[in-house]
């Protein structure tokens, strides 16, 4: 009898230990809700999202559910998203960098073709054709861009340039080198400020646009331009030379640290995307100038956040209404004024925006659009990561042939 009781106790204990695993969450499943998955959890991004939600509430009969995952500049969110997609528990829509960064999702059949909706909503006319070209995969578009940032902008410290006697802003690579030499002889040790891996990749891309032109540059990532050609070698040599003007401990710098070198007058130039002025202004630095990277002409290197329609969501109509709002003039206006970026649409009223953004809107309308790999618009996530690693290696060993070989291999990743 005693043994029986012992066995019973053991069985109950064993069951009790197992039971927590049996609890599961019930799906909300409400048809009127649209869960929007982003990593916009604070600052200007959150304000922009709020603006977008206000426009959504006006235009649609659905209610917005905030599925934001904070932290890690989106890397936390991407992990959560990957596991949710694998479990077939996709949010109604999610944020992703527009362009080639979506190629994994497309190949996996996880997001749907939006080409027909583009026609229906008039986005084909409202967005610049260059952008639509960059966004298309086999003639189909899979995402609606909410905003545009420009990445090939060279920020200047006006006071530092004036002190060194530089009056004309450089417009070609040769002029840039001359200006850097002038700054160096004026006692500025590292006239060009730069941060770690991805910001160095941005610099490399900007140099390549100057040396290869917009078409040749875009071809680097699509496979149309050979990474081993002599023109590319020339571009890489220019890049190597530019690195020699930068802060030596660049691999320890986040972009904001590098920006501080410009603010403190320890550098005259700083290459960064146009989210930089937001940081400058919150830190009280207003004496900055901006030019397109010398030699880039009117090429506008863009990156964008966009939203997609995942396969098999509960509420596709609600998601479509969200995407329509994101693409609409009102939605883009509400989002971008607060976030500090510019609308992807070309039919916007510039006067509503601050000075830098007005010039960017102008450049967006008239320029040639090329995507950026450093931000996933031009290349897959795997290629971007491999390129960053190769750039990091080059930063420490300056092995140009090794860089060329590695970049060639990296660009080929994700194109099976």
């Amino acid at each position: 009898m005693g043994k029986m009781r012992r066995a019973a106790v053991a069985a109950v204990g064993a069951l009790a230990l197992l039971s927590p695993a049996a609890c599961g969450g019930a799906d909300s499943g409400a048809d009127q809700e649209v869960e929007v998955f982003t990593w916009w959890a604070d600052g200007g991004e959150k304000a922009g999202l709020d603006g977008l939600v206000a426009a959504f509430d006006e235009q649609c009969d659905y209610s917005f559910v905030n599925g934001a995952v904070a932290g890690g500049a989106g890397s936390n969110a991407k992990q959560v998203l990957a596991s949710r997609l694998q479990q077939g528990d996709a949010p109604d829509t999610f944020q992703a960098h527009a362009g080639a960064a979506l190629s994994d999702y497309i190949a996996a059949g996880q997001i749907e073709d939006l080409s027909d909706l583009y026609e229906e909503w008039g986005l084909t006319e409202a967005l610049p054709p260059g952008l639509i070209d960059n966004l298309s995969v086999d003639g189909k578009v899979y995402s609606v861009p909410a905003n545009i940032h420009r990445s090939n902008v060279l920020w200047t410290n006006k006071a530092v340039l004036a002190d060194a006697g530089i009056t004309a802003e450089p417009t070609t690579l040769a002029e840039l080198f001359a200006a850097l030499d002038t700054l160096k002889s004026a006692g500025i040790g590292a006239p060009l400020a730069i941060g770690k891996d991805w910001s160095q990749l941005m610099l490399l891309e900007a140099v390549m646009i100057s040396d290869l032109g917009p078409e040749g540059f875009t071809g680097l990532w699509t496979g149309a331009t050979d990474w081993n050609s002599p023109e590319v070698t020339q571009g890489l040599e220019n890049y190597k030379r530019l690195l020699s003007y930068t802060n030596g401990d660049r691999d320890t710098y986040d972009w904001t640290d590098a920006g501080k070198l410009l603010m403190d007058g320890k550098a005259g130039f700083f290459l960064m995307g146009d989210w930089a002025p937001g940081d400058f202004e919150t830190k009280g630095f207003t004496d900055f100038g901006y030019i397109a990277f010398p030699g880039n002409g009117d090429t506008f290197q863009w990156l964008a956040d966009s939203f997609v329609l995942p396969q098999g969501v509960d509420n596709p109509e609600g998601t479509k209404c969200w995407l329509k709002t994101v693409g609409s003039a009102e939605g883009q206006q509400a989002f971008n004024i607060k976030k500090g970026s510019i609308p992807a649409r070309t039919d916007v009223t510039e006067a509503d925006y601050p000075a830098y953004q007005q010039s960017a809107i102008q450049a967006w309308k008239t320029g040639t659009q090329v995507p950026s790999c450093a931000h996933g618009a031009a290349c897959s996530q795997g290629a971007m990561e491999a390129a960053n690693s190769a750039i990091g290696k080059f930063s420490s060993d300056q092995d140009l042939a090794g860089l060329q070989k590695a970049m060639s291999a990296a660009a080929a990743l994700g194109k099976n």
Partner: protein
Amino acid sequence: MLTRVRRWGPGLLLISPSLLLLGVFVYGLIGWTIKVSMSDRHSAAESDGFVGLSNYVDLFTNDINGRFLHSLRNLLIFTVVFLLGTMLLGLLWAFLLERGVRAEGLFRTVYLFPMAVSFVASGVVWRWLMNSGQGDDAGGLNAIFGQLNLDFLQNSWWTDPEWGMVAMAVPAIWQLSGYVMALFLAGFRGIPAELREAAAVDGASTFQLYRRVLFPQLTPVALSALIIVGHMSMKMFDLIMSVSGAQWLTEVPAVYVWQTLLTSDYAKASAISVILLLLVALVIVPYLVQTMRTERRS
């Protein structure tokens, strides 16, 4: 038959939940990882093509810039320095305390405390301490050296392409030396006083006492310390992520797994994980075998 079931049945039933959980979540998932590592699942798309060991071969022969070998080299430097540093410092501190200093309790706490701090928290502080700026731009330790007119001590810390990983081991040594000290101290205390007395009666000098009597008794403790610190070192991730972030200079296999996983290259990430598991097993399995033998003997 029934009696035998009655004898071990309830016991088995009681441990069955943990057996089941371990079976599924540890061994089952290891098996799953090995399966993925032999597939061609290089993106988010489902794919179960079996490619045998080619992912492993690629890591060693066909990785861009020899990246995997580079991460192994970094790990080797880190591990050697980390092990030597903790063992030597730990032994030295334990020896000093064992010689009977005053306020032993205080010193013990002081040395042991760093272990209570997480690698992430100490990594953030050491990131600042090991600022690579020199001269006018110096910060952290380099600035202190500058103020003490010890400028020759200023160095580039973890940003040195060849020996950066030595600097990376410094915070790890700082954190775990106290733990090794505690292990050795326990080892010293476990040696019966009779042995010391017998040595003294036989006329052994202090040096001889330590060399011939006490240190040999510490071998098992030293082995445990090596294993514990060694396997921590192999899996090192959080410290490196908070000091340098994920980048080429300081990449070790664990960081490489993370980077690969973020780009949805599941097959490659699994292959690196399996190699990492084998490396750790290389250290731990002989130790387990040896422990089991000793236990059986006693």
